[in-house]
Structures are given as structure tokens and as C-alpha cells.
């Protein structure tokens, strides 16, 4: 039943085109239909011309078949490319929709906080005023971070990009630097960061700025979602032809039903909302895009007790 419904849906060209938000002449499904009709017409014309000028019917049939096959292959390639373009365009509009939604929350926060400060000035004490100024600052920071993340995603999604420079880098230096950067924040929450970073590891081919960003997102998540007195363990070692990074936290963990979505854009696990409210849901997506950009792989494993382990590998540059 579901299968036949799918077929009817596929046959409904108007609806298919509406999905992409394109006019009929830009819509891949409609163009495929037009191409199909064109192939039939060309086949009939070649047959008619063939029987008029060529005596052997077998040769006529063969010519018609070859012409139809060539046209079919060409049209298939063109339509597939159109379909890809249409899909990219659909994804972009969806992305813009989500971004505008994500921007609305901090903007409304700003608007309403200012409204509150403007209510009756005399009735708002200094402490409350300070509190609201800090809300304003936090939300401006949130908007700036979101805009920066979006620019970054857009750069990462472009094929070749001049701003991404691959060079031989030592990952351990970046990680040690980030650990010392996060130490102060982790100490304030009584979270211990333990690490085992091999110093003589081979270099990898990547952009140091982007790699720093990817690892920073992973460490930041581990610290922000850990409970007080938690432990974070970071290691970096060689495994076959790869460098393996591992970060283990004793945080809130990721609910089972959310696990398959965590690397998606703007996804935040249900329990993350209660822990850290200003997350944009882009950190892991950015980390994944960066690691994959440099030929690596990223994944995670839930811990049996509490917390998660995130891994990534990057190929060693020989």
C-alpha cells in the first residue's frame, strides 16, 4: 500500500516540483518527462527516415535503438544534475528557515530585555539592571556566534575554498594548547581534564585553524555538559595509517533516541536544553564537516554509566 502511494507521489509531477519550489521548466521531474517525449519523437523520426533511405530493416532498428539509447543517457545525466541543483536549492531554503528561527530567539530576548529596562526605570533596582545588561550581552554574543558558525558552514560546504589551506600539522600541539585554554574554565567547575598525548606522532594534512575549531567544539561540549567534579579524558595516538583522537566525558550522555541525529545541523539532544541553553546545535555538525573535509571520520559511543566518548581519525600524511 505504502509502495503504491510512493509511486503515485512520484508520478505527481506538479507536487514534486512544488517540493523544490521551482517552476515547471526548472523542475527535474518535468524535464525528464519532456526528455522522454523528445526521445520517443526522435526515435519515430529516425525510424521513418531509416525505412525511407535504408533498405535493411534490421539496420534501421539498430540505428533507432542507438539514437534512443544515446539520447536517454544524455538526458539522464542532464536531469540528474538538475535534480542535484534543485536539491541543493531546497536544502538552502530549509537552512535559511532554520537559521531565521534560531536567530529569532536571541533577537526576541534582546527586544524584551530592552522593553523591560524601559518599563519604569525608577522601579528597577541596580542589581536587576545589571542582570538584564548581562542578558543583553549574552544574547548579542549568541547572535554573533551563530552568524560566525553559519559563515563557517557556508565556507566548509563550498567545494574548493581558498580560505581552507591544507598543510602538514602536528595535532598534539593544538590539543595541548586547547587543554590549557579550557583548564581555567574546567577548574572553576571542579572538572578534571586528564590527557595522554603522544608527542612523536606523524603529521596530518589539514588546516590548523579549522582543526583547532573542530577539537575546540569537542572539548567545549565535554566540559559544558559534564557535571561538577567530573573527569574528561583526552588521548591522541597512532592507529594503523591514522591518528586517533578520543575524548571521554562523564557528562549527561545522549538519549538513545537522539543518538542518530547528533551530527545533524541545529540538532540538540533533549537533555542538552536543560544543561546549556545557548548552544546553537551547530558545534558537532561543524566538527564533522571539518574532519571529513580533511579525509577523516568522526563518531561517538555512549558510555555504559554516564557520558559519551567521541572519536575522530585523520589519515597520516606520508
Amino acid at each position: 500500500m505504502k509502495y503504491s502511494k510512493d509511486i503515485f507521489y512520484q508520478l505527481n509531477i506538479k507536487r514534486q516540483c512544488e517540493k523544490y519550489g521551482l517552476s515547471l521548466w526548472q523542475c527535474p521531474q518535468f524535464l525528464f518527462l519532456v526528455m522522454g517525449c523528445f526521445i520517443i519523437i526522435v526515435s519515430v523520426v529516425s525510424y521513418l527516415l531509416g525505412i525511407r533511405f535504408i533498405v535493411d530493416p534490421e539496420i534501421v532498428a539498430l540505428i533507432v535503438l542507438i539514437v534512443a539509447a544515446i539520447l536517454f543517457v544524455i538526458s539522464f545525466i542532464i536531469i540528474k544534475n538538475f535534480e542535484r541543483l534543485a536539491e541543493v536549492s531546497r536544502m538552502k531554503s530549509e537552512f535559511i528557515n532554520i537559521i531565521s528561527h534560531q536567530l529569532r530567539s536571541p533577537l526576541v530576548n534582546l527586544k524584551w530585555s530592552l522593553d523591560f529596562l524601559n518599563l519604569k526605570k525608577a522601579e528597577i533596582d541596580a542589581e536587576k539592571r545589571e542582570e538584564y545588561y548581562s542578558i543583553l550581552q549574552d544574547n548579542i554574543k549568541r547572535i554573533i556566534e551563530l552568524v560566525n558558525d553559519i559563515t563557517l558552514i557556508s565556507r566548509l560546504q563550498e567545494g574548493e575554498n581558498a580560505s581552507i589551506k591544507k598543510q602538514k600539522i602536528v595535532l598534539s600541539n593544538i590539543i595541548l594548547d586547547l587543554i590549557s585554554q579550557f583548564k581555567f574554565f574546567a577548574d572553576s567547575l571542579n572538572i578534571k581534564i586528564e590527557y595522554d598525548i603522544a608527542s612523536d606522532l606523524p603529521k596530518v594534512l589539514a588546516d590548523p585553524f579549522y582543526m583547532r575549531l573542530a577539537i575546540e567544539n569537542l572539548i567545549s561540549n565535554a566540559v559544558c555538559y559534564s557535571s561538577k567534579n567530573g573527569i574528561i579524558k583526552i588521548s591522541l595516538k597512532k592507529e594503523n595509517n591514522n591518528i586517533l583522537f578520543k575524548i571521554e566525558d562523564s557528562g549527561i550522555g545522549i538519549p538513545e533516541e537522539d543518538q542518530k541525529y547528533i551530527f545533524q545541523k541545529f540538532f540538540r539532544a533533549k537533555n542538552a536544553f536543560n544543561k546549556k541553553t545557548d548552544g546553537s546545535g551547530l558545534g558537532l555538525f561543524i566538527a564533522k564537516s571539518i574532519i571529513e573535509k580533511f579525509g577523516g571520520r568522526i563518531w561517538f559511543e555512549p558510555k555504559k554509566d554516564k557520558g559519551s566518548i567521541f572519536y575522530f581519525t585523520l589519515p597520516i600524511n606520508n
Binding site: 527586544k111 524584551w112 518599563l119 542578558i135
Partner: protein, 121 residues
């Protein structure tokens, strides 16, 4: 003193709206998700509910449905305060018995307070 329950996961909005309504002499309670909100509705009596639609645990629509199915809470006026302004959502909310549907970006804080006052008349 009239009692208002705000079910909203955005802490800042919960705070700004809560602080403003308290200044207007309402007793305000807040819940960060639907489940917490429904528990508060079970344990206490409220005169008005302000409900967001995008909530972390149960969706705002589900919370609304449960409020309207419950004998104790079905007559409490509900104001929807959300970022979703599609006609489909507005119709769905009105069908479920919502009295006021407000899109956050379209209203200032004093305007929302005015709507609250009207709903409590």
C-alpha cells in the same frame, strides 16, 4: 492575586515576562518544559497559562491537548506565545481552544502584558 503559569524553555523570555507580570501584581510560576508545566497544573490552580509551542520534552501542542482534556484545567485560558506563525499552527491552536495566539517577534513586552490583562478580565 491571579496566578499565571508560563511554560517556556527560553529562560530569558521566562524571566523578562515573569518579572514584568510580577510588577503588575500577578503571581507567576514558570516551567521549562511541558512535563514540568503539567505537574504544576496538577498540583496548583492557575488563572492563565502562557504556552510556547517548541518545547524540549513534550511538544506545546501535546501539552495544550492534555490541558484541554483534563477536567481540572480545560477551562483555563491559554495564550500561545511562539516563534511559529504559520496559518496551519494558528488554526490548529484555535481548534484546540486557544484564546490568543501571539508570535513573539511581532509583540513587545508591554503588548504581551496587555494581552494577558485582557485574557484575565
Amino acid at each position: 492575586m491571579k496566578k499565571i503559569l508560563i511554560i517556556e524553555d527560553e529562560r530569558v523570555l521566562q524571566k523578562t515576562l515573569g518579572d514584568t507580570l510580577r510588577k503588575e501584581n500577578y503571581e507567576v510560576f514558570s516551567a521549562l518544559d511541558g512535563e514540568m508545566g503539567l505537574k504544576l497544573l496538577e498540583s496548583q490552580n492557575f488563572d492563565l497559562i502562557i504556552l510556547d509551542l517548541l518545547l524540549p520534552q513534550i511538544s506545546g501542542f501535546e501539552v495544550l491537548k492534555r490541558i484541554k482534556e483534563n477536567e481540572k484545567t480545560k477551562n483555563i485560558p491559554v495564550i500561545i506565545l511562539t516563534n511559529f506563525g504559520s496559518a496551519e499552527n494558528v488554526d490548529k491552536a484555535l481548534e484546540l481552544g486557544v484564546t490568543t495566539y501571539l508570535v513573539k517577534t511581532n509583540y513587545s513586552l508591554p503588548e504581551v502584558v496587555e494581552k494577558v490583562k485582557k485574557s484575565l478580565l
